[in-house]
């Protein structure tokens, strides 16, 4: 048992430490988090979660580590027919299996989301090595066409701002190399639906043990790093839209791209 003086000293130290903690300027962490990037998982039909459960959290973690953008390390999950679907400007929709047709309520929810300017990433977790769409990839395109019948996907090449919102990227990459570009439905100048046939989530998924859950082919770690960079760029695109298209950046980035080219 400790002597009384030692206990008093310890008590005093704890009290002082507590007071210092109480008096120290408190960070506005909680109220800053509300506007943080949230890779919200979209659930439709009989889906129960994302194809790679740890991918959204890892995405948020990588964003916070690499950039100044705050992110939710525990991303939320929302159903398309839930009124909360319009609670934030981003949705992450992934899978590898076929999808049941969206219900009327789900279509209405997603239409409200897009009408407010939201962005959705449809990530094909079952994409083939060369980007061949899985049943999810085909079903996602089919169902989005029902939600946004006036929009047709176009290919976003390396010159699109999404490839330079934070990192300078030359192509899209994920768990599989897949196609060089991303497909997107652009409305009002904003890519509101982005289709990834590279399984971006597959490259991001990392278990509690710290091990990557999926091998990345054919590029290995380099390709995984590129996939993470693409995920960061997509998050930055959601938060900053076409910021890097501003005139003040254009000339600078053009010079840097020229310097980086062989």
């Amino acid at each position: 048992m400790r002597p009384p003086i030692a206990r008093l000293v310890a008590l005093f130290a704890i009290t002082v430490a507590g007071a210092l903690v109480a008096l120290a300027p408190r960070s506005a962490r909680a109220f800053g988090d509300a506007g943080a990037f949230d890779p919200r998982v979209l659930i439709t039909g009989s889906q129960t979660g994302p194809a790679h459960a740890t991918a959204p959290g890892r995405w948020a973690w990588e964003l916070e580590q690499r950039t100044s953008a705050p992110a939710r390390l525990h991303p939320s999950v929302v159903r398309a027919d839930d009124p909360a679907v319009i609670g934030a400007p981003f949705l992450y929709w992934s899978g590898d299996a076929d999808l049941a047709p969206l219900s009327v309520e789900e279509i209405a929810g997603l239409r409200r989301f897009f009408a407010l300017g939201g962005v959705l990433l449809a990530d094909d977790a079952g994409a083939g090595p060369h980007g061949e769409p899985s049943p999810f990839g085909r079903a996602a395109r089919r169902e989005i066409a029902r939600v946004l019948p006036d929009g047709a996907p176009i290919t976003l090449g390396a010159d699109h701002v999404i490839f330079r919102t934070f990192y300078l990227l030359h192509r899209a990459e994920g768990r599989v190399e897949g196609p060089q570009g991303l497909e997107a439905i652009v409305r009002g100048g904003l890519a509101q639906v982005i289709f990834s046939d590279n399984d971006l989530g597959g490259a991001l998924a990392r278990g509690a043990s710290g091990m990557w859950e999926q091998p990345v082919v054919p590029g290995g770690d380099t390709q995984r790093e590129h996939a993470i960079r693409l995920a960061v760029n997509i998050a930055m695109y959601v938060l900053c839209s076409n910021y890097k298209d501003d005139q003040v950046h254009a000339q600078f980035l053009m010079r840097r791209r020229a310097a980086a080219s062989p």
């Binding site: 008096l23 300027p25 408190r26 960070s27 506005a28 962490r29 909680a30 109220f31 800053g32 988090d33 509300a34 506007g35 943080a36 990037f37 580590q65 690499r66 950039t67 100044s68 953008a69 705050p70 009124p83 319009i86 609670g87 934030a88 400007p89 409200r112 009408a115 407010l116 300017g117 939201g118 330079r164 919102t165 934070f166 990192y167 300078l168 790093e225 993470i228 960079r229 930055m236 959601v238 938060l239 900053c240 839209s241 076409n242 910021y243 890097k244 501003d246 003040v248 950046h249 600078f252 980035l253 840097r256 310097a259 980086a260």
Partner: protein, 745 residues
Amino acid sequence: MLSTHLGTSADLPSWGVAVAVALAVASLALLVAEVRREGRGAVGVAVTGLLAVAALLAAVLRPARVAARETAVGARVVVLADTSRSMALPGDDGRPRSETRDAIIARLAKRGAEPDGARFVVLGFGEGAPAPLPEHGSHDDASARAAHSDLGAALRAIAASAEEHPAAVIVVSDGRLDDPPEDVSAAALHAMGASLHVPIDTVATTRSAPPDASIRRVSAAGAAVAHVPLPLRVDVGCAGGLACDELTVTARELRDDGPPALLASGIAHLEDGKGTLDLTITLERAGSRIVEIAIAPQQGDAVPANDRRLVTFEVARERVRVLHVAGRPTNDVRALRQWLKSDASVDVVAFFILRTPTNDVHASTNDLALIPFPVDELFRDRLPSFDAVVLQDFDAQPYGLEKYLDDLRRYVLGGGGLVMVGGQKSFVAGGYAGTPLADVLPVQLGDSSDAPSADTSPFVPDWTPAGHAAPLLAPLRAAVGDELPEMPGANVLGDVRRGGVALWSHPSRRTRSGAKMPVLAIGDEGDGRTIALGVDGTWELQFSDLGSRTAGRGHGALWSGLLGWLMRDPRFEPAQLDVVGGCTAGLPSTLRARLPPDIGAAASSTVRLEITRIDGQRAPLRLEAARPHDAEPIDLPLPPLETGAYSARLSAADGSTTRHDFACEAGGDEWADTRPDPKRLEALAAATGGAFATAAEVASLRLPKPTTVSAERHVTPVAPPWVWTLSAAALLGIHWIARRRNGLS
């Protein structure tokens, strides 16, 4: 008293009398010719013929005795006296021209006092319809105050008047008129008098110009737009024997945040007493801006007041240039950027901090699309080129902004707009407490060492009464009503500073004074405006249940009002101010305030007016007036002000403030050219059939004759009609007999 004279029968028209007399004269002429040809017995034929013609004429005219009571009424003559400010300038003898004008009028009045003299109606002309000439006192009295000399408007008003039409019009002026202008054609001058159908006589008060160098005219090529070069043409002149071959002209903006700023200068070369200089100025700030155009003083100048003109430019914005600086990308930053970029009238330059020193990017610099934050370039070199600066969730310390906070404060005082938007790095947490920037924010910032910088409890902001009434939040109320989304927390802000107004407040948190903590506050500082928004959740006006129900319009409506108010968009001003008829130095004037109905409905409140001279050389003048219950304008009488630029600030009881800048000049346009123009008066008289006279020759003017008016009239025939007829028949018979005896047919 009755007067009697002979006349013709009353039933004969005057043309009938003329025909009868003409026929009689013709008959006599024939008779004379006939008698000369025949020669014989001429006397008898001539006498009887003469008598017969006379009897016939009398039978037609039937003479009568007319007894009448008659008076002569003088013709109505309208004297139009020039009452413009140029009449206060020195005349030929050095005394004000208005004194000569009044002497001329007195001489005309003396002629009116003569028997059967003209009835003079003396009216003053200046602006619009003429009015009775005010009593003459000193040289700056009411008879020489009009800001214009519009003779054309006065003549049109007389022609259109239902009063007795004048028999003549006499214009007394120095000839320096707005209408007719200097180079008017004779045809246009003739047209001026055509509607009156009477000649216009003119009398020149002055013939010689005083020794004077002046700015005669300042004209701008197009409207003034902020940041856009504006060409000015400055016409200068020298007259009255003052020798000046060249004059130095300067253009300076009068500012209340420091000494006048030199915009341009140049030298005007004069030929024949006239010169023109083209200057280009650039006004960086929108709103009312007062520019002083001045020439270097000349020795011997009798009218130094016109060496300097104060020109008010209503500077518009082609596009609002906004600098948007964000400390980190968030949903709130996203929403604001998208709104700024969606508005075609906004030119946004954005810088977002995307990477902090603690971030590990796992890449080389060449793999990054990041550029250094150009804090020096933005806040040292480019700051004046922006209309507004938005600091959103931005920490001043790590990025070198601290050293420019005083520049930012001066930028606000000089007319710039500033918005600080809440977040983890804003207000106290951003290190702004105790800095120069804190002095221009509308709220006090506490000391971060003993107070939390944020309250993380979710809450729904309360509307304050001022927020309910504020026109800048009207678009938001129209979009979402009184409902606001729940905010995830707030920056801890202090009391609203003097001149600030809280529009939203925290429902439970209090400031040190016990007042509800402001969440959204606005304030006027110097020439600029600032907004403090202590939350980072306005994006939820877009992405929330409320946003879904209102199609997300609330976010754009909020920022449209905030930015519009910051830029003094009249739609969002709590009041509209105007100096009625302009301000003349040394004369009282009236400032009219129009309050919108929703604010004017506030009962039993007052508005306070503060007039300050922009150079701060005089103590502010303060007035108070009761605010009407409805939207009726309030007229606030201003005492005589000295020459200079002034700023009027009207504050309502809720603290909302409206500013209006105006200039007071001694003579204005009327003193710009002090030369009299008697030739223009001479040309006007010649074109309308009138006469021109100088002041000394006024007695020679021919006035219209009086009109005779009969009050009572009695007509009595000299003889009955049958007597005249019988006499004529008899005398004609005798004449016929005389002709037959002399062998005539």
